[in-house]
Symmetry: C2
Subunit: 283 residues, 2 copies
């Protein structure tokens, strides 16, 4: 039996998604909670859609887990009491926690949290104006001391769109491709002054979002010309022109899955192109 | 010379606005920073519009401070270099701080941060739905485990509007009146699921906002009937029907001042009715 779990977390106090010895990770906390309520002798392994790095947040993370049985949550008629399962898991994670189960459901036929997605969507938040600076935003937005021109940032963002080699924006890994399709990348200034981007790709390689944001920041504060960014992009080599931005401005917003009857075929297709999915890729 | 300071802070790590020995307070931190950049031998005292309790946030706090001189920030022509003053103060408070100076300005004639306001406006934020629960909101919104009916909350809120004795919602203090004018009190559910109120009064007595929110919560989750709330309101006595809600959902949004030429007269009027302004009143 495969369960789909929809999760949200504040990444501040986690060493990222993936399990690491002696560190508090999202995967570790959720797997321990599952082992407790399901009375498993060893943790069942979660498979996640978007591995997130230390400090990165998620409001729309998705994972799946394969379990031999959910017997302790069976109704007398043999159906599953998912509400009770949700309540127990939420109870273990405690009220008002930094990781929360939004929903538990039986996975549809062919569903694979990692291989079925069509795309991942993130947002990144910046504050650049002391007069509108909101201290309550500081755990989820990054302060940039120079004012940002959102039009220039959008011009840079648009120049990165499409199917291309993002080698200039990815931490290199032998044998893994850095070709991705960047489907959406737009900046706007919200009424409260926060500068936010929405960015979507079929998949991201390690540090890709935060590098692309860094490139837009140097475009927006005037430290780099668009022609310089074009050159770096086309060279597909790492550069010192911009920085990988800090993790706490980044939030995984949504995992986009195909229609129900395409979940299986899509997972098959992705598995057959494993070079596209860097095993260690984390945002 | 009187300066007006517009401030914002995350109340999480402060023991409230007002100075207390051996505790980190907003007033203490800002006064220390001012003493440093102005090289004062003893701290100049800030006068604040809305005293906030431990854990309460402010995005629109206002204070004033009387200083003998700002000589070290005078331009050659005798005018003040307020930009340099702002930069130095922001520098002392450090980048990305939990308290930030949004603006420093010369106070207009007759301006008094505490006595000139026409009204104070707060917001309070609640989350009641595990499926939309956002862990990034948990420092500024309060989790209520029972679902809230916003229509019922608005009916309760409306029943509290007007000029009346808020004795049922105020921590009593001998010699201080609990009569206030509640001018606005409205709830709405935002697109992300957070339930937010805007509440405005000429002034609030101690714990008044958080008690009124508590009353709306028991209306919204069905634990109290409107008729019970009416009775408590009219009795003007403290009750166990609802709780004083936690501080971290509360944010001081705006201090509303009158037109420039009414700042002085308004301050005079308020001073003549000191019974309306409990010296120890904190939100």
């Amino acid at each position: 039996m495969r369960l789909r779990l929809d999760l949200a977390y504040d990444g501040t106090d986690f060493a990222g998604w993936g399990i690491q010895p002696n560190l508090r990770t999202v995967q570790g906390v959720v797997e321990d909670a599952l082992a407790t309520i399901l009375r498993l002798s060893q943790p069942a392994r979660l498979v996640v859609a978007g591995r997130t790095d230390a400090g990165v947040h998620a409001s729309g993370q998705v994972a799946h887990i394969d379990l031999p049985t959910l017997a302790s949550f069976e109704n007398p008629d043999g159906s599953l009491d998912l509400q009770e399962f949700e309540n127990r898991l939420a109870g273990i994670l405690k009220r008002d926690p930094d990781v929360v189960l939004k929903r538990a459901s039986i996975a549809l036929d062919g569903f694979d949290a990692r291989f079925s997605p069509l795309a991942r969507r993130y947002e990144y938040r910046l504050q650049d104006d002391a007069r509108t600076y909101n201290p309550l935003e500081r755990h989820r937005s990054v302060w940039t001391p120079k004012p940002l021109d959102v039009d220039l940032m959008n011009a840079a963002a648009e120049s990165f769109l499409g199917l291309r080699d993002f080698g200039a924006f990815c931490r290199p890994r032998p044998g893994a491709t850095t070709i991705r399709e960047l489907q959406q990348f737009e900046w706007r200034r919200e009424p409260d002054g926060v500068v936010v981007c929405h960015i979507q790709a079929d998949a991201f390689c390690h540090s890709m979002v935060r590098s692309l944001v860094g490139a837009c920041v140097v475009a927006g504060n005037g430290k780099a010309q668009q022609s310089e960014l074009d050159e770096v992009r086309d060279g597909a080599q790492r550069t010192a022109l911009f920085k990988v931005m800090p993790p706490h401005g980044l939030n995984l917003v949504e995992i986009i899955y195909p229609a129900d009857d395409e979940l299986g075929p899509r997972a098959e297709l992705t598995r057959s192109r494993r070079d596209l999915l860097d095993d260690e890729a984390i945002a």
